[in-house]
Amino acid sequence: MNYLDVRSIVESLIAEEASLTHEFAIETVAKATYNKIERMPTFLKIGMAILAIVFNLYGLFKVGKIFRAQTIGQRIRQIEQWRHSSIKAFREFVFFYEKLACFIYFSQKDCEYDLQ
């Protein structure tokens, strides 16, 4: 996976509402998520890489653009479709990114004010 793909997924997960469009948070979480994915064991990386290709092709098929080229609204819709998909691998793909991004996001000291 390349960084831009990861960043676009993280941005779509974090920035669903205007109150959460903290650029520093998106960049910080995206970089940390990308670093973790780069360090994954090969077995997991292969699976995630295949799903990432399918994820982009899905976008191309549905709206005529790969994921990172879509508007934020289109990206959020695609994530929702995969989150509720009948295909387990699709659900797990979104689940993985959501869990990882959330763990990193809520571990950031800077997000503490969001939890007040």
């Binding site: 997960l13 959460l20 064991p41 090969t42 869990k99 991004a101 959330c102 996001y105 503490e112 939890l115």
Partner: protein
């Protein structure tokens, strides 16, 4: 001496110790203190305890293999924790110290024909570890989540214990306590260095060189340079996954990596009307009413960790986590019947780990969540957030009855493991054991294993104390040969 720059292409020692977790660190230390020329090689970095906050994302990046993303495959994928740093698991765990259940050790003697491990010998080794690691109880009040478990257990008449820890406590002038984890980098590693043990961090042993029944050397990689290590004896102490992986890659396969055992865990988040969580301290209370099959306890409950166990989108989690000080994570860990394996695949640099949970295991895990519900509602919890597919927040115990009676649905909940062992069991029964009763690899003259992989089976709780006692015993036995 610590090697930080790439040494010459070849290095010699009397004993090579591979891996610096509790098994390797104790082995290297005791041998070095006895005058043996020891080289301790560790794949991960040499970092102080203070390099990152415990259980943080930074700590996972620095000290966990693959940044914490290690998975055992199977119908139920299990995320497990594996350290990759000098000191191994002792640098990242909670430091909880549990003596083994003696009836489990008795089982080892019978089922695996482990010799020379009578109660008196084990007790001596345990006591020596306890002295070296300052094993003690928290002098101050227990954390609030621990008190909640204790309170619930008392109301239900359940057996519970406050677990001792490998921590040193010093009272400060303001009356509070300074606590210092007694990990390997604080205890046995400095002692080993003092005894002239050489340590080579950031160095991965790729394979052993075998000639007949002997290992005659090892090939290691440090900063992309290949090093040949010559030795007379080798102790492989790389952990329950990496030890069998290295041996299988080197062509040693008899009873290696076929019998991995773990303590699978499920977790839930409990919500209380009052504040209970200040994200400090390690919960030290465990419920022992259902041991050895089931243990209940509390986990790290920082906002990041709470987010892992909550369902929903980030926005939904954010709403929930505004209340994070009223929440804590509790776990149910089981002694499993299932078994896993470690295999090497061509062209893949990491081990392939798989684990099969049985129906009984899933039933126990479901029962574990039910029992957690019992004790937490008894202690005043108002809501339980259970990460099982199809389960909304639970407000009364009846909401968990399905899990209690039918068990966890297969693939329906995240399962984790922090205790891995038994992948190369010890004993004189060569049909199932990889090493003899003292860790010497069957059918080889100079290869020893001395870590969690040689535990024949669960010791009935946190395995750290048992591992350290056995490795100490085995190292002392080696010195007497």
């Amino acid at each position: 001496m610590i090697f930080n720059k790439t040494p010459q292409d070849k290095i010699s020692c009397e004993v090579l110790v591979i891996g610096s977790g509790p098994g390797g660190a104790i082995t290297a230390c005791l041998l070095a203190e006895a005058g043996v020329d020891v080289l301790l090689v560790e794949e991960g970095p040499f970092l102080p305890l203070s390099s990152s906050k415990s259980y943080s994302s930074e700590e996972m990046d620095q000290k966990y293999r693959h940044g914490g993303l290690t998975v055992a495959f199977g119908k139920n994928k299990i995320t497990y924790a594996e350290a990759r740093c000098v000191g191994g698991g002792s640098e990242i765990n909670a430091g909880l110290y549990h003596r083994p259940l003696m009836q489990r050790i008795e089982t080892w003697r019978h089922q695996y024909k482990v010799e020379g491990l009578d109660d008196a010998v084990l007790k001596t080794c345990l006591e020596e570890s306890e002295r070296d690691l300052c094993v003690s109880y928290m002098p101050d009040q227990l954390t609030t989540p621990s008190l909640k478990l204790k309170n619930g257990a008392e109301k239900l008449g359940w057996k519970f214990t406050e677990t001792a820890r490998c921590f040193k406590y010093q009272k400060k002038t303001d009356g509070t306590w300074l606590e210092q984890r007694q990990s390997m980098t604080e205890t046995f590693i400095p002692r080993a260095l003092q005894a002239s043990c050489r340590i080579m961090p950031d160095t991965k042993v790729k394979s052993l060189i075998l000639k007949g029944k002997k290992a005659v050397g090892a090939i290691a990689i440090k900063t992309a340079n290949s090093i040949k290590i010559d030795f007379q004896h080798v102790f492989v102490c790389a952990g329950a996954v990496q030890t069998p992986f290295l041996l299988r890659k080197s062509g040693i396969r008899q009873n290696i990596g076929n019998s991995l055992r773990i303590h699978p865990m499920v977790r839930l988040a409990a919500v209380f009307p009052e504040e209970i969580n200040d994200d400090t301290g390690v919960p030290a209370v465990q419920i022992e009413e259902f041991k050895p099959d089931l243990t209940l306890g509390c986990s790290c409950s920082s906002p990041g960790h709470l987010a892992l166990w909550l369902d929903g989108t980030l926005q939904e989690k954010q709403q929930r986590l505004k209340n994070w000080k009223h929440m804590a994570i509790f776990y149910a860990a089981i002694t499993a019947d299932g078994v896993g394996s470690i295999r090497c695949w061509p062209m893949i640099p990491e081990p392939f780990v798989s684990y099969k949970l049985t129906q009984t295991d899933l039933k126990r895990l479901g029962e574990g969540l039910f029992r957690l519900g019992e004790v937490l509602f008894a202690s005043g919890a108002t809501e339980l957030l259970v990460p099982v597919q199809g389960y909304e927040p639970i407000k009364q115990l009846s909401g968990l009855e399905g899990l209690g009676s039918r068990g966890l649905p297969s693939g329906g909940a995240p399962i984790t493991a922090i205790h891995l062992f038994s992948s190369c069991p010890m004993g004189e029964d060569k049909s199932k054991c990889a090493v003899n009763s003292f860790g010497k690899l069957h059918n080889y003259d100079n290869i020893y294993l001395n870590d969690a992989s040689i535990m024949p089976d669960s010791a009935g709780g946190n395995p750290q104390a048992t591992i350290m006692a056995i490795t100490r015993r085995n190292a002392k036995n080696f010195l007497q040969i």
